[in-house]
Amino acid sequence: MSPPLPSDLGYIPPDGGWGWAVVFGASISVGFAYTFPKAFTIYFKELQAVYSISYSQIAWITSIMCATTYGGGPISSILVNRYGSRPVVIFGGLLCGIGMVSAAFCTSILQLYICVGFITGFGLALNLQPSVIIIGKYFLKRRPIANGLAMAGSPVMLCTLAPLNQFLFDNFGWRGSFLILGAILLNCCVAGALFRPIGAPKIQSNEEVKEVLKEEVTKDAMEMNSSTNIPVETKPEEEEAKDCCEKINKYLDFSLFKHRGFLIYLIGNVLMFLGFFAPIVFLAPYAKHIGIDEYSAAFLLSVLAIVDMVARPATGIIANSKWVRPRIQYFFSFSIAFNGACHLLCPLASGYKGLVIYSVFFGLAFGMVCAMLFETLMDLVGATRFTSAVGLVTIAECCTILLGPPIGGTLIDTFGDYKYMFIKCGAVMVLAGTFLFIMNYYNYRMLAKEKRKAKEEDPKSVRTESEGRNNLNKDTVQDGPELEPLREEQERLKKEVNGTNEV
């Protein structure tokens, strides 16, 4: 039996076809957004020498970039809600390109902060969110696979960007590299061009066709359409019920904060990100600290990236299987806890071989968590509200993501030992995983209870509820495993058409 899926989009996503082109574009966008700050660090030494500044001052560039990428989430969500994914991504790509090209002509570190930090960071924010959002619009049954493939763009891009940056730097110096990187970032516009808009208007056209048919056949075609045509029906409703809050909610759905699943996800993830990125940042320094040479330490990160690259699509395939998909939240909690357990065991790894094994497991766990990061949110809130949800989640995560490595660094400096940092990260992640596991168990039970309650009532009212579900009426009925209203609607329409014939 196919798992019940939340489908409140108002149409059936294609689950393939042009969707795979969208996944490819999304992987490019996501790859640039996540890896560009990391790959940028090779310019630090040269910039430090040219502008005569300290390492912490130059590191502000990537901090500002990361903060803007995550903090620009809500703005990104509002723009996508208003204009759709494609224009936002193209605009984001242009912004990134302009930012880097202007950085090539900078004469002070402050100008670099603005050009590289703010402008490029904001452009990347406008790339990241819409890419993830549009996957939810194109895929439903195969959404975990699509998410896994799109997130796999990050390690692939890291493996290509890092050597490319080095090559550019050796041949063109830092100014020329910035210029060419600006052009490379313009490729995000290509990814954006692939994001063909999809949505309810398709049903409009279907409805129009059926209207024509019914007009030909019967005279009460208009009545039918008014009862079956969702967007037409809800629009007058919308206009009547619109007030200030709902107007804002149309752009950024703050009512999500009353959504149980969303709150669970938010708290769990905010906690998790405290210990998520710090081990990657400190893996190479830790390796050098225990006596491994620089090239072998860099090799550890390569091992991590390669395992990550394979783990993300694989996790997507596993998460899509019929055993895991209904319980995907448990799988997510397990992968977070597994990640934490890896970190807790890392201090026991002795020597280079131990660290390689740790890197392999860490890469696996990291890939698993990243692949399901947005899939679980989509699963909890549904694809239509996901637009706003992702913006709100990223700005909340922004703080802990930025705090994680500095806290780890402080621990290392205070105790002079790396193991406390690993213990802290591991403990935080195991705690987050356990919290998510317990709370999602509770959530699943509550959802099942609500579903049973809803089914006991009039089945037709359930259907109309699910049909009329849009961004407004979310408080009463929670999304989650439920019916397949679209299929039922199609059957009903067929019956009606046949019925009119018999009349």
């Binding site: 020329g176 060419i180 061009a193 056949v217």
Partner: protein
């Protein structure tokens, strides 16, 4: 104890213990015996330098001690220890000097470094040991034979610097060592310890000034930009830095006072120097040298500066922008094309469906009439 000296060792004290397995030549031992009492004889307040002269293979006890010259060394290399050429004479050439290190401590004789190398197992290529010295020290070089070869009969042990043989080899059970005072550039070089017996082993010690760490890849800058060339001396602080630029085949020193608005020399850290070249033009393209002056000599680092015009990266930039524009155009055109095709297909489908409905209607009427009839 295997020698483990590299540039990371503390600059002053490089421990190098050479344990040579000296084949105890019949004459060797008296020479050895001769060396030690001379040590005792030479006592001076500040420091004692003794340059063991090379012993020829014919052993002759060198017991005379001579004070050749006595100089105070005030932080600059001004004395010359005679060694080498004099060693060819069968005379102990001892030079005593008073050292005053340029650090505050006056106990230069306590800055005694030992370097030891265990000879290789088989008589393969000679083992090479590099020692970096940035200031005057007394060192002891020892070559040692591995314990398992203690039964080997050692016929001869020679210490050489270049072609000159060094005498006054200290012999212990399995090791042969020489003591050197490195006080100026001429003392640096390669010291060779050869142990001849049934097999021949060889160890070479290279005494050098510290190397300069420079970026081996060319520094790329653009016209009108600022270039920063950085030279770093690892683990040792030189006395002074000098920058040279190459004009044709000459090297011209960059004097700070020369072109103040063009060249700026910064000393960021004691062991790091920075040359900033402002207002770059294509004429500034070329090779630059940074020279570090140490007590024992000078060390140079070579840096290449490339000055490019902005046209150089502009070409790949425009190529990539063109590629982006082409791809976006292709994608949009494909979308318009496929939409048009869909619309045509939909209109056809709609047409078919109306036809079908019309035919069904007529059929339905017939069916109902037949049903009536049947009923």
């Amino acid at each position: 104890m295997p020698a483990r000296c590299s540039g990371s060792c503390p600059g002053r004290l490089l421990l190098l213990l050479l344990l040579c397995l000296c084949f105890s030549l019949p004459g060797g031992s008296p020479a050895d015996l001769a060396v030690t009492p001379q040590d005792a004889n030479q006592t001076h307040e500040n420091s004692l330098t003794r340059m063991p002269t090379g012993l020829k293979s014919s052993p002759e006890p060198m017991t005379t001690t001579q004070t050749v010259n006595r100089q105070t060394w005030g932080g600059s290399i001004s004395d010359h220890l005679t060694v080498g050429p004099d060693a060819s004479t069968l005379g102990l050439d001892l030079t005593t000097q008073e050292f005053k290190q340029d650090t505050k401590s006056n106990t230069s004789h306590s800055s005694y470094e030992k370097y030891e190398v265990v000879l290789p197992d088989d008589s393969g290529p000679a083992v090479v040991k590099n020692i970096t010295l940035d200031r005057a020290v007394r060192i002891e070089l020892t070559c040692k034979l591995d314990g398992k070869y203690s039964s080997l009969k050692v016929i001869q042990v020679t210490w050489k610097k270049g072609n000159e043989t060094i005498g006054h080899i200290n012999k212990t059970e399995n090791s042969w060592s020489i003591q050197l005072t490195i006080s100026d550039n001429s003392k640096l070089g390669s010291y060779n310890c050869t142990v001849k017996g049934e097999k021949e082993f060889s160890v070479v010690f290279h005494l050098q000034v510290p190397k300069i760490d420079v970026k081996d890849k060319p520094v790329i800058t653009y016209e009108g930009d600022i270039a920063v060339l950085v030279c770093k001396s690892l683990n040792s602080t030189p006395i002074s830095w000098t920058w040279y630029m190459t004009n044709g085949s000459e090297q011209i020193a960059i004097n700070d006072s020369l072109l103040l608005d063009k060249y700026v020399i910064d000393k960021v850290f004691p062991n790091v120097t920075q040359l900033k070249i402002l207002k770059l033009t294509s004429k500034d393209d070329g090779v630059y040298w940074c020279e570090a002056a140490f007590e024992l000599g000078k060390s140079k680092g070579k840096m290449k500066l490339k000055v490019l015009s902005l046209m150089v990266p502009l070409k790949p930039f425009l190529a990539i922008v063109a590629e982006v524009v082409v791809l976006v155009a292709v994608i949009f055109l494909f979308e318009i094309y496929s939409k048009r095709r869909e619309k045509c297909a939909e209109i056809e489908k709609e047409f078919d469906q109306t036809e079908q409905l019309k035919s069904e209607e007529s059929n339905g009427v017939e069916n109902s009439s037949t049903r009536h009839r049947k009923v």
